[in-house]
């Protein structure tokens, strides 16, 4: 069964229809890359799935439960919303690390906040916090930053900050990890370290959805490609299908535009 299912998702800002009925699904342990030019709606799609925007209509199902249902009037409880939110993780284009906390604190902050509702928190909080710090350190190690654990974001390069933010998203153990143009705010020479981390996550069979402008990377790391144009999915398939044998004229033009550069 698909871990993520999006059905006929629509979203308008004022009179501008940004998503004109998006449907796709994603299998567990797969990596999906969403490509397309600016203004095609890919970031809005990501923000709707991550509940930073509320879609107008449609259905989003993650791991069998609807996190958004445009046909239902049922209001989700705060607990349900939290459970839904924790099923998905998001890495932002501009990192959005918390500047007053160290790298390790950034990674563990939310985990510690959620641990407070554990029934055994009161008697065991020291052990729980220690365990969370160890988890944080192991994640920083995974992104190659265990020696920067006590540095503040302002003391890290853009690439290092983005790696901390990947570790922060991973700390909540999401079912799916989303990336919103994770390398767009970085100098070209720093994008490699991010792509390396994402590839290592893919090798560990992390389910991921990546909105990206890095075509070579999308082709190499993704199992599925979605090309979005003007609010619709113009083409979908394996990297070979989309990059080498595009069916749609718009896809052809987009891909030709990138390979020329």
């Amino acid at each position: 069964m698909a871990i993520l299912e999006v059905k006929d998702l629509k979203k308008s800002f004022g009179k501008t229809e940004v998503l004109k009925g998006i449907s796709f699904s994603l299998e567990e342990k797969n990596v999906l890359a969403i490509i397309g030019s600016s203004g095609s709606g890919k970031t809005t799609l990501l923000r709707c799935i991550n509940m930073l925007e509320t879609a107008d209509s449609g259905l989003i199902t993650v791991d069998g439960s609807a996190i958004f249902d445009g046909d239902s009037d049922e209001k989700l409880t705060a607990q349900q919303k939290l459970e839904n939110q924790l099923k998905i993780g998001l890495v932002f284009q501009s990192f959005n690390l918390f500047p007053q906390y160290t790298a390790l604190e950034n990674v563990t902050l939310a985990v510690k906040a959620h641990a407070k509702s554990r029934p055994d928190f009161k008697e065991n909080h020291k052990a729980i916090y220690k365990e969370i710090d160890e988890l944080g350190m192991s994640l920083l190690k995974k992104v190659g930053l265990e020696n920067k654990a006590n540095n503040y974001p302002c003391q890290l390069s853009g690439g290092q900050q983005q790696r901390v933010s990947i570790a922060r998203a991973m700390a909540l153990n999401p079912k799916i990890l989303f990336f919103d143009e994770p390398t767009s705010a970085l100098d070209p020479e720093l994008t490699g370290e991010i792509l390396k981390v994402i590839k290592s996550l893919a090798a560990e069979k992390m389910t991921m959805v990546i909105v990206t402008h890095e075509m070579a990377f999308a082709r190499e790391a993704a199992d599925r490609i979605i090309f979005m144009d003007n609010g619709v999915i113009e083409e979908e398939g394996t990297p070979e299908e989309v990059f080498d044998h595009p069916k749609s004229e718009r896809t052809k033009a987009f891909i030709a535009g990138y390979t020329e550069v």
Binding site: L52, L82, F92, A110, A113, H114, P153, R168, A169
Partner: protein
């Protein structure tokens, strides 16, 4: 009748005591009270926002001296319940006035925090309250230290307005010496008290700013 230098200082210190009480009482209440007013002026519920902003406009648009007189005289004139304590009336007027000013500093500070910080809190499953207290508030404090220190140093000197309803603060104590002993210099000499007080505050705020300087952004 005559008075020596030490006598002048003792009398001025007696007045300075009221200056200090007014200063600290105003800060203790206006610093927290500014926060709900700031939230009111940012409320998505329009009537609350408009009422709060009108309130801030009236308070910032009229002289503090007038506000002190209104708070002191109006309850007696309208409701037949005059203030028993002049000091209490001054403190209330100052708290209202400074809470309004602080609320605008808070609002500016809160609105200057990038929306990405709230979004990061949300996708990490933090509630709005958790995000505010764990993530936003500290960044706001760092950003408002400079404007707050400015306002707090202004408060030191505004305390002299209390004499308009005959609260015996520092300037009033000096004027008493002028009229009783015919000495003018103690009035000018009060400047030393204000300068030392503001100097200490400047040093303290400088230390605080340095302390918060461990991160940027």
């Amino acid at each position: 009748m005559s008075i020596d230098f030490i006598g002048v200082n003792l009398q001025l210190l007696d007045g300075f005591k009221y200056t200090l009480i007014l200063f600290f009482a105003t800060l203790a209440a206006a610093i927290p009270l500014g926060l709900p007013i700031a939230f009111g002026s940012m409320s998505r519920f329009k009537p609350i926002r408009l009422i709060t902003r009108a309130f801030v406009w009236v308070i910032r648009g009229t002289p503090l001296m007038l506000q002190v007189m209104v708070v002191f005289y109006v309850p007696g004139l309208l409701f037949g319940m005059p203030f028993k304590s002049r000091m209490a009336a001054v403190i209330i007027a100052f708290i209202i006035n400074y809470a309004a000013y602080f609320s605008e500093i808070y609002r500016g500070g809160i609105e200057s925090i990038p929306v990405g910080q709230y979004e990061a809190g949300q996708v990490l499953g933090l509630t709005k309250t958790q995000t505010f207290f764990k993530v936003i508030l500290f960044q706001v404090i760092k950003r408002i230290v400079a404007p707050m220190s400015n306002e707090i140093i202004t408060l030191v000197k505004d305390t002299s307005l209390a004499r308009v309803i005959a609260v015996g603060e520092l300037i009033m104590a000096a004027q008493d010496i002028v009229s009783v002993y015919g000495l003018l210099w103690p009035l000018f000499y009060t400047a030393i008290f204000y300068l030392i007080f503001c100097g200490v505050l400047t040093l303290l705020f400088g230390k605080l700013e340095k302390k918060l300087d461990y991160y940027r952004g």
